[in-house]
Symmetry: C2
Amino acid sequence: MASAVSSHPPLSVALVGATGLVGETILEVLAERDFPVGRLLPLASRRSSGRTLRFRGEELAVREAEPAAFEGVDLVFFAATGSLSKELAPEAVTRGAVVIDKSNTWRMDERVPLVIPEINPAALEEHEGIIACPNCTTIGVAMALEPLRRAAGLRRVVVTTLQATSGAGREASEELEAQLAALARNEEPVATVFPSPIAHNVLPLCERFDPDDDGYSTEEMKLLHETRKILGEPDLDVSMTCVRVPVPVGHSASLLVECERALSPEKARRALDAFPGVRVVDDCARNVFPTPRDVAGGDEVLVGRVRRDLTSERLWLWQVVDNLRKGAATNGVQIAETLIERGLL
Amino acid sequence: MASAVSSHPPLSVALVGATGLVGETILEVLAERDFPVGRLLPLASRRSSGRTLRFRGEELAVREAEPAAFEGVDLVFFAATGSLSKELAPEAVTRGAVVIDKSNTWRMDERVPLVIPEINPAALEEHEGIIACPNCTTIGVAMALEPLRRAAGLRRVVVTTLQATSGAGREASEELEAQLAALARNEEPVATVFPSPIAHNVLPLCERFDPDDDGYSTEEMKLLHETRKILGEPDLDVSMTCVRVPVPVGHSASLLVECERALSPEKARRALDAFPGVRVVDDCARNVFPTPRDVAGGDEVLVGRVRRDLTSERLWLWQVVDNLRKGAATNGVQIAETLIERGLL
């Protein structure tokens, strides 16, 4: 993969949301993967503009994200709020840039490909300027499901997620840290980002409840709709509860999967391990299973505890992903690399 | 309930495992509920004997648990290791005591009632000296299932648990604390009780893997077999993954329940709220749902996030229980109270 990408002429790249956790991780991943960045333009909301950040050893000033900033830009990563993306992504496209958007704004738009490069790279061929990067939780779950889908078809999935605080942004991560420090001093933890303390606790709510969703969180609805779109299975039964846990980085998911055709745990493991970007970490005899700490800082989706349900042919899996890297930044950069490989950028 | 119990002549009560977390909580609960304790005899393994503890303001020496200690004792709570319970519970019964055992040793013995007093108190009538208290995880899950079973029958249950460190004992709780302190100092957390660090992490393993269980943990197998026995549903489909989370107290469970007959979320909430020991805490519009911090120190099983599955008639629930109280100590003391009420003690 690296050759077509690394020999590509340098691109002018803008990054909206450069000061956030995902933005910061995109900068790391671009540098690590030697992505052909010529000029890098860090942008942010007015509140965060004026700061500086480092990219490949160089200090860069963060400018305010506004339409004129996209003049002459080839590629824009949006890693900011949905409203900024809604307003500015079309402006960037109008000026000739390709947009890879991490927000929820464009994902379910029929004109917008929603892409995990290992799963549905061909969807990029149809892009009209904006490409959506799935939600961090969806990416981990879809990466674990696709090898099983290809091997034996999918009928039904039941999933409970255990999501890291960094999935809710920098302030959420800082809130966990501050609450743990307060508890260590025997003080009451103060919750402002999350509706209840997250330290020493778990919350059966990720993001927020939408009155239209009849008791579901917005995060849960994303998991249903995005998974269907990415896997190309518009009627797939996905049942889910999304839970926030006091973990800084690394989303986990406990998955019960019903396939269309028989699939033994052993064959499932082989299918998973053979899939690019997925690795099986599964040896009960030696207490080996994947945990959030194991994926933090890495790009692989790890899967373990693959076993047959005790009362049916269904399969249990345990899946873990670094929500900031493969769940966000790395997947976005991989989309850009795939665009280059396919001559689309 | 209190009257038959409080007017009962004082009993000679022994507590094996008095120095552990559950033992300590049993002492609290006995005092709180004014259980008719005449003499209290705190016992422990040789290693822990010789310490002292306080009960109702009195300082008591912890003696070594050995057969002769049970002479003249009416009631023994076992809150110790399974091996101590296996060896000593029959010795206590031989000497005329009734045993309420919290270990896993006797639960699946056909001669031993496995009791949650709100669910199957009549099973106590058949006791032959030993009565088993279910696993802390099973108690929470069964308390959430029984009201639905009575209202509409149960066909299938899929559950992922998120279990507190105190469920693995005092050393496990201390390990979480020590690891969080190490991380706060930017040091590597050291894991000795758990196979990997539990701080800032989740582990898809509770207790241990048994080579006979084909990829399942002992905790998961308990949840299947105990739930079936308590609910009197020997063929109930229960599918589960048990996960350890960095929470000191309070086990949570994410449950997807398929009933035999139609049951709306509203009717499920009513059935749950009407059941003794269960309270519904469920108001998405105001971000109200139960969390481990909400149950810590209390005896109620809290249930929230009751909603219909997006793709079927099944119901999702979120259930939380204080694993040391209703999950262990309180349930044990309630068993003793029920024995008194039924003239069995």
